[in-house]
């Protein structure tokens, strides 16, 4: 009798125990998996840091190589983990053991949320000189006058044209539209504010007004009279010339150019490999002027920031500094990313047309606002562009709705403060 009872209890305990430890191990594995170098020997007194990156797998592997080099020089150990994440997930992970000390390689507009959530540590003033980097990249690292980010690389969309259809790059958008009319058209993801920024800027509109080193999120330009003109221009391309329709996506636009159907395409370095592989006859250039203005494209800056929760902030910043000083040319070779540092830009000394077009276009670009409110623009913008392309609403109504909806979303977000 008693023996059975003991056996029963023991079994129970064993089951519970194995279940709990099972969970424990599972979690442990998750937090450690992805770390490429599980190298054993820990140098005496060395600090261990873990950084997450949203760059591609091959770029993460490259960063790890440099992390190992940095580790060998300093006696510390750095692990780079490829991990797409969001504020909530990062915050929970950063609180726990084995969590990240920071993120290295995320777009600057995404960093804004981490700053709003008080997760990003201010960059020490002497870590890097602003003048050593591209202007747009530096601007992207500041929020309300405080520097949170370490810039790594910049990217911006530029113009592709089909050399079978077009022999010379038009000097203006107006000429480009003429040339494209009976020739396959101009395609891009026209429902995304990312590609439309230049059109808005050409008509003196803007997303958030940038004044005295900060974005004023109460001053939204997307509903003003310039924006209406910009929407009219896009709408004309969609409905009158039929260059694209309301279901246009990045993939559709890309494949239309890749198949040789369209004459012009606005895309980025990330498209080059696909077109080369498919044998599309193409050349690249920076974008022509529109309405007499330089065409502004959003310069996305990949940045690194250090978590306020990190116990090794000094080492993490030191590692970031090492990366910006040493790894940027290699990052260009591996991932086609234009270095944000001027010295690295010179050192790559590449005369490829793609790089030239991108650097030329970057000079005309501006960063996407590093504010959390930027994340609320995408949905209202694309919703209303789609409705406009199907003829459900007019450009003027689109402007009104976009402004009202962006305000509504900002209000919803900020009322949580």
């Amino acid at each position: 009798m008693k023996a059975k009872k003991v056996l029963g209890i023991t079994l129970c305990a064993a089951m519970v125990f194995s279940m709990l430890t099972g969970c424990g191990n599972g979690n442990g594995n998750v937090s450690q998996s992805g770390g490429s170098g599980e190298s054993s020997a820990e140098s005496a007194g060395g600090k261990e840091i873990i950084v997450w990156t949203e760059m591609m797998e091959n770029e993460a592997a490259l960063l790890q190589e440099y992390a190992d080099k940095w580790g060998a020089e300093t006696g510390n150990k750095a692990t780079v983990i490829s991990q797409y994440t969001d504020v909530q997930q990062f915050s929970q992970a950063a609180n726990s053991k084995g969590g990240p000390d920071g993120m290295l390689g995320i777009p600057n507009d995404e960093m804004a949320n981490y700053i709003s959530a008080n997760l990003a540590q201010e960059v020490p003033a002497d870590l890097y000189q602003d003048t050593d980097f591209v202007d747009a990249a530096v601007q992207a690292c500041y929020v309300d006058g405080i520097k949170y980010g370490v810039p790594l690389s910049v990217e911006t969309p530029f113009l592709f044209y089909n050399t079978d259809k077009i022999s010379q790059v038009p000097a203006t958008w107006e000429e480009m539209v003429e040339a494209a009319k009976d020739n396959g058209g101009i395609v891009f993801e026209a429902t995304s504010v990312y590609y439309a920024l230049g059109i808005l800027r050409a008509y003196d509109s803007y997303i958030f007004n940038y004044k005295d080193g900060a974005y004023d999120t109460t001053d939204i330009g997307l509903g003003d009279s310039g924006a209406v003109k910009a929407y009219e221009f896009v709408n004309q391309m969609a409905t009158e010339y039929g260059f694209f329709s309301s279901d246009v996506t990045y993939d559709l636009a890309k494949s239309s150019f890749q198949n040789g159907e369209s004459a012009f395409y606005i895309g980025g370095a990330w498209d080059v490999a696909g077109f080369t592989e498919a044998g599309t006859p193409f050349a690249v250039s920076d974008l022509p002027t529109l309405n007499g203005h330089d065409f502004v494209t959003p310069v996305g800056t990949y940045v690194g920031f250090v978590s306020v929760k990190s116990e090794n902030q000094k080492e993490t910043f030191d590692f970031y500094k090492y990366i910006t000083e040493n790894a940027l040319p290699a990052l260009y070779t591996t991932g086609n990313r234009i270095p944000a540092s001027l010295a690295a830009q010179e050192s790559i000394n590449d005369d490829s047309e793609v790089t030239k077009a991108q650097i030329a276009q970057c000079a005309k670009g501006e960063p996407l606002p590093t504010v959390s409110e930027m994340g609320l623009i995408w949905q209202p913008y694309s919703d209303n562009m789609k409705l406009m392309f199907t003829g459900t609403i007019t450009p003027k109504e689109a402007a009104e709705y976009i402004e009202a909806q962006v305000k509504e979303a900002i209000e919803l977000m900020q009322s949580g403060q």
């Binding site: 009798m1 969970c23 329709s245 494949s255 209202p380 909806q405 977000m413 949580g416």
Partner: protein, 303 residues
């Protein structure tokens, strides 16, 4: 004495299941309810406080209240059509496959079970490709046959139709299996008696097959309704809630309650509102489920 020991042993066996339910089901529910009474969001990840009913009040008076009823209406239509459609399709096919003269019925069964056996995410992605307006398989086929393409993504009616078709395709094999099981449990003597009395096939289906199978499958149909009510992934992955509804950014024309909540609260990182809306949505589904069970007589004692 013996009884008490039995209970202890039983407890030991039930404990693993109980603990896992506690950890993976009860705890998250309690946590969600708890969060709905705090101000836990992007601005207050570490320093959140209890705020009482503030979230519930702001939800009821906030921007969701304007679109709440249109969205709820479509959600109910969607859940009813998907559940009833899936059930009727499944039942119809089950009756056909249950025919003892159909020797190759196993082959058909295996083929018809495919939508269920495929990982849903992959199947949904394929459907997303098929429904694409300009390059999708369905429209390409229609154009080859001389028709014009269907505006699956840009027209409200067709977008909703498309979503329901996909959901039916994903859902009927389960219902078919349920009904096949039910059909096999019906005693053949009932049908013999009906034949002797001169009943037609339709009459015996109406009087014997349907009532007996339905009685067995009520709990499954009701839980399927609750599942479809929150069936977020198809909509999210195929239309993304689109086509857009004029004047509303959170609720597209195909957005159900769950996907509207998702859009509203994740973009702005308002986790506390997300939790609040989840609790409200749970109350709605819970009520509807109770009503359904009551109406279908599942609570009645079976003699």
């Amino acid at each position: 004495m013996k009884k008490r020991r039995d209970i202890r042993i039983a407890l030991c066996f039930i404990l693993p299941a109980f603990i896992s339910i506690l950890i993976f089901t009860i705890a998250p529910i309690v946590y969600t309810v708890f969060i709905s009474f705090t101000n836990y969001n992007m601005y207050h990840l570490d320093d959140y406080d209890m705020v009482g009913l503030a979230n519930y009040i702001s939800v009821i008076t906030g921007s969701i209240s304007e679109i709440f009823f249109p969205v709820l209406g479509w959600t109910i239509v969607f859940a009813v059509l998907c559940t009833a459609g899936g059930y009727l399709t499944g039942l119809g096919l089950a009756v056909l496959l249950n025919n003892p003269h159909m020797r190759e019925s196993k082959v058909y069964k295996s083929i018809l079970i495919v939508p269920w056996a495929l990982p849903a995410t992959i199947a949904i992605l394929s459907w997303q490709g098929l429904l694409n307006e300009s390059s999708g398989g369905i429209n390409t086929l229609l154009r080859m046959l001389g028709g014009s393409g269907v505006p699956w993504m840009t027209d409200v009616f067709w977008a909703r139709t498309g979503i329901i078709i996909v959901n039916l395709w994903l859902g009927f094999p389960y219902m078919m299996n349920v009904c096949l099981g039910g059909l096999q449990s019906i005693d053949a003597t009932y049908y013999e008696a009906a034949r002797v009395d001169g009943a037609t096939k339709w009459q015996s289906f109406k009087a014997i097959t349907f009532p007996m199978v339905f009685k067995l499958s009520v709990p499954l149909v009701v839980s399927n309704f609750a599942f479809n009510f929150n069936n977020f992934s198809n909509i999210f992955m195929i239309t993304g809630g689109g086509p857009a509804r004029v004047g509303s950014q959170f609720a597209g024309s195909t957005d159900i309650l769950a996907s509207t909540i998702y859009k509203m609260t994740t973009q702005s990182n308002r986790y506390e509102l997300s939790a609040t809306l989840s609790v409200i949505s749970f109350a709605i589904v819970g009520t509807l489920t109770l009503v359904n069970l009551q109406l279908s007589g599942a609570f009645k004692e079976i003699d």
